[in-house]
Every structure is written in C-alpha cells, then in structure tokens.
C-alpha cells in the first residue's frame, strides 16, 4: 500500500442525536437539587434504576418517584485505562456497579479511592454533581467512611 493510498479516506459524517429526557425530567431536575430518584411502578411495585416511565414487567405507565438514600456496597468494578475518544482528556477512572440499600444497582465512577483500595462489598455513597456537569458527571460514588458519616449527620 502506498502512502497516498493509505491516506485515502471516505467523506466524514458527523452527527450527534438529541437525547430525549423529557419524560424523566423529574430525575434530571432532582440531580440538580442533590437528589437521586428511582422510579417505582404504581401497579406492580417494581423499583427501577435507571428510572423508566414505563414498567417492563406489567407494561403500565403510572410511576412514583422514590428518592434513594444514597448508600450501597460495591458489587463489582474495573479501572478504565484505555479511554474512548470522547474521554481522552480524562485520567483513567474507576467504574463501579454498586447495590444500593433499596435493592437497585447503580453504575458510576468511584472517586476518592485508589484502585488497590476498592474492595467488593465495601460501603459507598452516592454524590450528585448536577445534570449539566460534563465532566465530572451527574452522579458519582465515593467511599463511605466514619468521618463522612459524622459530617452528614
């Protein structure tokens, strides 16, 4: 392959779809006010996070919003070293799936801890960052420790 051939590229297409969040505006407004809501089906009682305005179990569309207490434990985690193009300006980040006390699971960055300090079953708490922050993002997880418990109470 010659140099000129290797540089031959198709015409680029750039598009970025609008993200439709209107039906979940309660959630995004909540993030701006420091609250994280899950949705609860009024018919069958299923609690959903991410929140949904339609229930996948009973197919009804009447929901209630339930504010999460924000406490949970690490269920699994990784540290992303090779970042996607749109995260190329970020330092490597730890991503956690946490099981919250209400039973739902949340995927988010864990900040304030080294990879070697992250353990399965460790207690974490949810912190909101606002819906427009980009980055850091809407909500993150932090290690839960004694000092912060006192600060919160």
């Amino acid at each position: 392959m010659t140099v000129s051939e290797s540089k031959r590229k198709a015409k680029p297409i750039v598009f970025a779809q609008e993200i439709s969040t209107r039906k979940l505006s309660k959630f995004w407004d909540g993030v701006d006010k420091g609250k994280v809501y899950a949705s609860k089906c009024s018919k069958c009682g299923r609690l959903s996070f991410p929140p949904t305005c339609d229930c996948p179990l009973c197919l009804q569309s009447e929901i209630k919003w339930v504010e999460l207490e924000g406490k949970g434990v690490v269920e699994t985690f990784t540290k992303i070293m090779v970042r996607p193009a749109s995260f190329s300006n970020c330092e490597p980040y730890v991503v956690v799936v946490a099981r919250m006390n209400e039973g739902v699971k949340i995927l988010a960055w864990l900040t304030g801890a080294e990879l070697s300090d992250v353990k399965l079953g460790a207690e974490v708490r949810l912190v909101t960052k606002g819906s427009q922050n980009d980055p850091p993002y809407s909500f993150i997880l932090c290690p839960s420790n004694e000092q912060e418990h006192h600060a919160a109470s």
């Binding site: 392959m1 993200i19 991410p50 699994t76 990784t78 540290k79 996607p84 739902v104 993002y137």
Partner: protein, 388 residues
Amino acid sequence: MIGLNRVAVVGVGHSKFGDRRDVSLAELGFEATRPAFEDAGLTPKDVGFLSVGMAGTWYDDFLPAVVVSEYSGMAGKGLMRCEAACASGSAAFAAAYSMIKSGQVDVAMALGVEKMIGVDPPTMTEVIGRAGNYLWEFHNFGMIFAGYYAFYATQHMKKFGTTEKQLAQVAVKNHKYGSMNPKAHFQKPIVIEDVFSSRVVAWPLKVYDCCPISDGAAAVILASEKLTKSLTDSPVWVEAIGISSDTSNSTQRSDFVGLSATVSAAKTAYTMANLAPSRIDVANVHDCFTIAEILAYEDLGFCKKGEGGQMIQDGQTELGGKISVNLDGGLKAKGHPLGATGVSMIVGLTRQLRKEADKCQAPIRNGRALAHNVGGTGHYCYVTILGS
C-alpha cells in the same frame, strides 16, 4: 431437530483474518463466498436466499450488504442484513437455516463480513464502548467494551478464586492453535509472561486478555435435506440452534459470574438436539476476552460454575482433552471481525466434523460440535450444535 426437512452445511469458505486494508468490504466478502461455492459445487444462481452478518455502523455505504451481495453475484436473491453485535454472523446463520427449514428455499448462504481496522482505534473504542446502554453507562461514565468483561472477571476472581494466570492460560492456548491456522490474524505462540507484561486495558484485563480488532469474512452454504443428498457424501447437519438475550444495562444483571444468555441459549440447544454437554467433541466458544472463555466453559455445562479456571489450568480444553475448545485460535488469536465471527465458528467446526482440520484435528468420537457466539456482554447469545 432430527426429522423431516433437515438442514445441512454443504459448503464453507473463509478469508484471511487480520489487517485487510488491502481489499474493500465486497472484495473481502468474495474471498469467503467463492471458496464456499467451490466447496459446495454450487454457483450463485443456485442460492435462494442470502443473509449477511455485519455489525458495523461505520461503513461508507449505507446499505453495505447489498454492495457485498452484488459483488459476489447474488443481486436479485432474497437478502437480509443481520445484526446481533458480535453474534451477527450467527444471526445470519439462523436466518439462512430458518429459510430452508420453513421450506421457502433449498439453498441459502450465510455470509459474515466485517472491516474494522480502517477506523482509528480511539474512535473504534468509542463505538464499541457503547455496547451497553449509551445514556446510563457510556455518556456519563465512558465505559469501554473490555470494561464490561472486567466487571465479570473481578467478581469471578473474588467469588471463585480464579487467577490472572488462569486467564493468561486461555490466551496462551488460543494463540498456540492460532499459530497453526494460516487464516488467523496472529500467527505466533505466546507465553504467560507476554500476557502479564502487556498493558492494562480495563483492570484486571490486559492487552493479551483481549481479542484484536480485525477484518475478515466467512461464508457457509446451507441446503435442504433432499438437495444435500445429491450434493455431498459428508454433510454436516444443523442439529439445533438456541437463541437468547439479556439486558442492555449491566445494572439489571443479577450477578457478574456468568452470562445468563449463554445458559439459556445452551439449554434450548441441548434440549433441541437431545444431547448432554459431555457428548460434544469440539467447541468454538466466544473468547473475546480470556474471562469470556472461562465463563463459557461453565455456562455451557463443560464444567460446574466456578471451575472454569481450573479447567484451563488442567489443560482439559486442549486438543485431546476432555473437550477441545477453540482449535482454530478462537477470537483471541484468529481475530474477531464482528459479523464474520459466528460464521467462522461454523466453518471451523464443519472442517472438524469432516476431519479436515489437519494439525488441529480433534478426536471425533460422538460426531457433535458446538458453536457459542455471544453478542456484546451476553446481550445476545447463539448456541449452534452441528452433527456429522
């Protein structure tokens, strides 16, 4: 599936996998379709239906399946593009199978073809990193594909004591067989130290725990029972296809120690074929990451849950072991051109059942082979059982 109107694989073709920027998508497809026609003793005129497995969203053409079909002489035939992420090839195979099984056509081709290397790596990481739920996992948190399998590795290691060395042993095994497959992307064996010294992609997974990004194509021709008998003395019958799926959000999964889509698809396939896992002679399982092969051993019933690490450590999945797995090099060394992979698995297993696999020929005792093709992180799963 034994009974009337059985469906057989009567022709297979496979391109060289790897960096194939030397050819266009259609030219790459042709490298698989022509040998498949030659193998079957058929021509494009004989085909009633073509399904094209292709996952990419990055092609210059909006309708790349049509471009590929025209180039291989099948314009005018029934045509469908099938997408099931990394299992798109198996989806195409299932579509072609169904068209014959239902009596619509007597001959169908499943072609898997994908070109990935022409896209720069950070952009490709961006695209396939969106293989979960974009808004809740990528937009805010920048997940990458390896990160999802890392979730499974982390929990599996903690719960069952699976080690990074056992993960590395999967890579070493599959590179060894890849080095004996002239069509494989990687042609050199590796050692454990190569895996350990490679950089971390998504902890605990390192570069050598991950399959490469590859270009490639594979094709199979399927025929009705009636026609098969006039075409070949060594048909490979499709005994069963099990299909399943799972949630897009990883937060909706009950645990991270196995893929429930694999368990479910395998159960369907074993029931359909009336077969126990112990009767499988040779399998191609979805080893997009080393942990994925260990999960597959367990979820397919080759061993008990939690014993997959021990199974690779003990060499039970080597050629001549309890069950031979990924003797074509697997995704890990052969390469993983997304849509081509599922069809490539069928090509490799057909050659195994025909006893044409040369240095990598598994002992065929029961005449049964299994292909396990996962799309995403268990978002899709296809388990196909073949019999000679």
